[in-house]
Symmetry: C2
Subunit: 363 residues, 2 copies
């Protein structure tokens, strides 16, 4: 499937192929990459979760496909219309804009958004493009502060002068919208939790350590993952991830690093294989003499999940096997806030500087 850096062109190609099939009295056929686990693999060379080359065919004259074929055409046409109008909208708006009763029938084009969302992902995968390039917003929730100047649709924004809020990372950070103008930072610290980000921003950690601090507020939204990818590939900044020492924190790191199964067709744009894990780890309890009360006993779900993760290719490197084994043996996890037991500034004045100086990272 050719990559369309021109998604409008891709949509037009799709339309033209269907029209050509119809004029030739052939059964119109839309080839779609298969997006299930069976067609996913870990690409050792790039370090990314990738989509394989298995393709399914959605054809009009197959009664099991006809409704989805109609929906695919509607979504593709609406995407082109949105691009032509040069506006951006949400996937919920897309659903509402397309929902109608087909004339002279009792049938609605869509019954609920759960029908239109996967069709859109089909089109993203088929066009090998990002939703954002189809002018559709994903959710947004990240923040960034530090010496980075950007231009956003004509406005100049200096992320070093954004007070207590930081720059709100928009849903679409593609170069057409977000241009990097100037950056003097040495690295990017990606922080799982906004509360920890706020703590570090208040201490102006980014100024003392000449870095950017960024939070995704939990699992980063697509725009935030894409921004991390751009900061690394375009500005050559090392990426260090700071998350809770628990299966969820390690999973967040793995998605930032090698992409997710669900969006595997976008891994090269959303993943950052060179990212390093700075902490927290369960081994930090001993290293930093944390009191035992701040650890949290693992529950059955944590143990099961950790065992699963030990079998993932990307957690096979020895330092990760050691950490995951240590976690299971200790039987506890811990959160970033556990560092507060050593004082509120411990994270910014001791923990992070020591980790960065000693290059004490997990791969």
């Amino acid at each position: 499937m050719a990559r369309h850096d021109d998604p409008k062109g891709g949509l037009q190609d799709l339309g033209r192929r269907v029209v050509k099939d119809i004029l030739a009295e052939k059964n119109p056929d839309v080839p779609l990459p298969i997006r299930t686990l069976a067609n996913i693999y870990f690409d050792e060379k790039s370090g990314l979760v990738k989509l394989g080359d298995k393709v399914s065919h959605r054809t009009y004259l197959n009664i099991a496909h006809t409704r989805k074929f109609m929906q695919t055409m509607l979504v593709a046409a609406e995407c082109k219309k949105i691009i032509d109008q040069n506006v951006t909208t949400s996937i919920r708006d897309l659903y509402y804009a397309l929902k109608h009763t087909i004339p002279q029938t009792q049938e609605n084009t869509f019954e609920e958004q759960a029908e239109s969302d996967p069709i859109l992902e089909d089109i993203e995968a088929a066009m090998d493009t990002l939703r954002e390039r189809l002018h559709l917003q994903a959710d947004r929730k990240g923040y960034l502060a530090g010496p980075l100047a950007i231009r956003d649709t004509g406005d100049m924004i200096d992320a070093a002068r954004m007070g207590s809020s930081g720059w709100a990372i928009p849903s679409n950070v593609e170069p057409e919208i977000i241009e990097f103008k100037d950056c003097t930072a040495d690295f990017v610290l990606v922080i799982e939790k906004d509360a920890v980000w706020q703590r570090l921003n208040e201490d102006k950690f980014w100024r003392k350590h000449n870095c950017l601090i960024l939070t995704g507020k939990g699992q980063p939204a697509r725009g935030t993952r894409r921004l991390i990818n751009r900061l690394h590939t375009e500005l050559k900044l090392p990426i260090y991830v700071l998350a809770d020492a628990d299966p969820w924190g390690y999973y967040i790191y793995s998605v930032i690093k090698q992409g997710s199964i669900n969006l595997s067709f976008l891994s090269d744009r959303l993943g950052t294989p060179d990212a390093k894990y700075i902490g927290l780890t369960t081994q930090d309890v001993k290293t930093f003499k944390l009191p035992s009360q701040v650890t949290i006993k693992m529950n059955q779900g944590d143990i099961k999940r950790t065992n699963e993760m030990m079998n993932y290719v990307w957690f096979k490197p020895a330092p990760w096997q050691k950490e995951l084994t240590h976690m299971l043996e200790a039987g506890h996890k811990l959160e970033l806030e556990a560092l507060s037991s050593k004082g509120i500034k411990f994270i910014s004045e001791t923990y992070l500087p020591q980790k960065i100086k000693g290059k004490d990272f997990l791969p």
Copy 2:
């Protein structure tokens, strides 16, 4: 209970009273406002949900209170320490900072955050102050754009030049942190959904209609409600709320307007009784000729909730009774995105201008 605009002074008073009791060999006693429904009322004069004057007493020499008394002293002391250090932290950090085993016992000060959170609310209510003034962060998630210049801890931020993101509303918007420097807007449009906010920001609705557009992303966080309150009381801006035509949207409006039961002791700082409801309503379906497919059938929970709301004092005004009755009779609700069925720019170019021009608001 005296209001402490100087929360540090309030904490010191609390400590001194306890020390005085101990020195006088009296049972130390912390009076706390009762924060249950039994002590809540709707104040017709101010239009706010308020806390009554019933008080409970937490005493040290009552075995049922001793643990909570100890916890209250710990939280109060930590709040003073945080204020003294002039740092801000999260309620989760507060919990971790205070959690420890009491020397020569097996007992922990706190077992989980669910123990420290209500103690903090007790202290907020007892001091009649905001958590933010105790240097504790609440969650944050709102955005604002339009002709408003603010100063945030030394940085000047112009919300009219914030590109596609807008200004991220911080968790603490108290005047010590957020100073309003300049504002030429005529009103504030508060929007339930971020996707709709982004649509209006892209159309630069705030420029055409000389207003501020603000979203709380669902139920606004404390900081966002406090900002709405400050924009109205200090800058005298009318507040118009745009939410889904469903019980949840109407509830969001009611919390913005008259405060919430849970935080009733803060209603005069978080509520804005003069706020007006601009839409969406179920009556808009007819007025704006929306296609019937975009309505959503009410479920049993919606119907139950609507009937409850009809009995709330603040939904007693005739226009609200009419709308809620209409909703129940029509048996459907609808979301803001339903307006997209009339075209993506319908909301910014037809719906909102017509409502504003005709002053077509619910009270």
